[in-house]
Amino acid sequence: MNPYVPILAIGAIGFGFAVFSVAIAFITGPKRYNRAKADAYECGIEPSPSAAGGGRFPVKYFLTAMLFIVFDIEIVFLYPWAVTFDQLGLFGLVEMILFIATVFVAYTYVWRRGGLEWD
């Protein structure tokens, strides 16, 4: 069988799912128009030329951004493993579990010490 057939099938299923979801929401969903609906992505903070409170972002934005960066970047170590995980076998799996457990320890520290609380 041509190896591209499954990929095409996945593509078709994905396309079908997207069309189906949008269509079913359009047909069955309630239609209430208000201000939030007009926002980008229908959520989040209204975009404005300057930050709230006179041009400076509160420090908690930086805190969240820093936490995001440091946890996000750890993903680069998963890519090489994803490419070779069948060759590395059990060893690779154990090493990766250890690695993720270590990252998770850092995460629980941040969570328990209140680093994720917004206010």
Partner: protein
């Protein structure tokens, strides 16, 4: 295209970064210049990886990215603490220790 050009670019970026560290006054900008130097080193690693025909250099680039991210977190934490203490991020204002 001549692959050595990437090395010239890398050296140029590194120079811009190191001059920025010496000349700029805002500690955040100084810090961004240091990040530029790290990225210049990364570019050199990736270029050499291509020249040498093995992947070691790209592996180093991965590690450098992670280390740089950790450095960002530690550095911004220090800079934000200082800023909250004295409402200034200028490296010239941090001169209590030179008296």
């Amino acid at each position: 295209m001549n692959i050595a050009n990437y090395l010239y670019l890398s050296a140029l970026l590194f120079t811009i970064g190191s001059i920025g560290v010496v000349l700029r006054r805002n500690s955040i900008v100084v810090f961004m210049c240091i990040e530029l130097m790290l990225n210049a080193a990364n570019l050199a690693f990736v270029t050499f990886s291509r020249i040498n025909g093995n992947l070691d250099g790209q592996v180093v680039a991965f590690f450098t990215m992670v280390v740089a991210a950790c450095e960002v977190v530690v550095g911004l934490a220090i800079i934000v603490t200082i800023f909250r203490s004295r409402r200034s991020a200028s490296v010239d204002d941090a001169s209590l220790l030179n008296r």
